[in-house]
């Protein structure tokens, strides 16, 4: 019985895979490369953490079709990116352009890195300059005693 389930599972999956594959024709390898590059850089606005290459949403399918058609008409990469930008805004790009609005997005990680390094530096210097704990004679004796006890047992 388990075996049958297993077979069923595999057949169901292969059907899904077959449905997700799209057949596209290209005039030359460069065009094909641009196609795959572009669909890997454009964000699907329905499932926002996927590119239109990854997503199987209806909108992603339409946008893939659009990219393919525009390439076939001889449009350049930049034409297609501009086309998408004018309709969906910067959000459609996984690599948004550097602008006053996106400056924090681009520089944020470096700012945090530098901030972290500065904090680390201050922390280390502070630790270094700290003098070791001072103890009087009595305390030293007590420590010695405890250590000796430990060794005996």
């Amino acid at each position: 019985m388990k075996f049958i389930y297993l077979i069923l599972l595999f057949t169901v999956h292969s059907v899904c895979l077959a449905a997700a594959v799209e057949y596209r024709e290209f005039e030359n390898p460069e065009q094909e490369n641009s196609y795959y590059e572009l669909i890997d850089e454009l964000r699907c606005l329905v499932c926002q953490n996927q590119t239109i290459a990854d997503s199987n949403a209806d909108l992603a399918k339409d946008l893939r079709r659009q990219v393919h058609e525009m390439l076939q008409k001889g449009k350049t990469r930049q034409d297609i990116i501009d086309y998408m930008l004018s309709r969906y805004g910067d959000f459609v790009l996984y690599r948004p352009p550097l602008k006053s609005k996106t400056i924090l997005l681009w520089t944020g990680p470096f700012i945090f890195l530098i901030l972290g390094l500065i904090l680390l530096f201050i922390f280390i210097r502070k630790k270094k300059s700290e003098s070791p704990a001072e103890m009087d004679k009595q305390q030293h004796q007590r420590i010695r005693q405890l250590l000796d006890q430990d060794r005996d047992s």
């Binding site: 606005l45 329905v46 926002q48 209806d58 909108l59 339409d62 946008l63 659009q66 930008l85 004018s86 309709r87 969906y88 805004g89 959000f91």
Partner: protein, 177 residues
């Protein structure tokens, strides 16, 4: 003292950021189309497919473009509100029937009422792309000069219709070309 306060400060800063993050709606993507002329389209009417309606036919009036489909669940929630808005007759409402089956669409309107002055069919979603549609229902407000003034993503609410959107329509109706 500072030793104990620092974590508290850090926590407060983090909490503020997280609270802002929670309030943001990731589905609301600012549309680059606002302030721009409405994309050109000329599409067959849902109820009279041999006739076409385009953006050029609507110049000189304030109109809403409501993107809807019979397969869209949120559209169903929004529909009674559109019916109410249509009754007031303050604005022309055009429906963009997005990637839908015409028969299903017509049945849907028959069942739930038809708030649209006209609905046009965008069966393959091309005009939807021109409008930057990504989440049905969407509503665009277009002024008399044919400029998109506002976009609402997701179902309209009662507050929108009697509040901000209603005021906006009133303002636009008073504008002169």
């Amino acid at each position: 003292m500072l030793k104990y306060l620092t974590p508290l400060f850090l926590f407060v800063i983090l909490a503020v950021f997280l609270a802002i993050g929670l309030k943001l709606n990731p589905k609301e993507i600012p549309s680059p189309l606002i302030g721009r002329p409405v994309p050109d389209f000329s599409l067959p009417l849902l109820h009279l497919p041999e006739k076409k309606l385009g953006s050029s036919n609507l110049k000189g009036r304030v109109w809403l473009l409501n993107v809807w489909a019979s397969w869209c669940v949120s559209c169903r929630a929004e529909h009674p509100l559109l019916n109410q808005l249509a009754k007031k007759e303050t604005v022309t409402i055009i429906g963009l029937n997005y990637k839908d089956d015409p028969d299903n669409a017509k049945r849907w309107l028959k069942m739930l009422g038809n708030p649209y002055n006209a609905s046009v069919m965008d069966q393959d979603g091309r005009i939807g792309i021109d409008f930057g549609v990504y989440g049905v229902p969407e509503t665009f407000v277009i002024d008399k000069k044919g400029i998109i003034r506002h976009k609402h993503t997701g179902p309209l609410t009662m507050d929108d219709i009697s509040g901000s959107l209603g005021d906006m329509i009133k303002g636009l109706q008073n504008e002169r070309i």
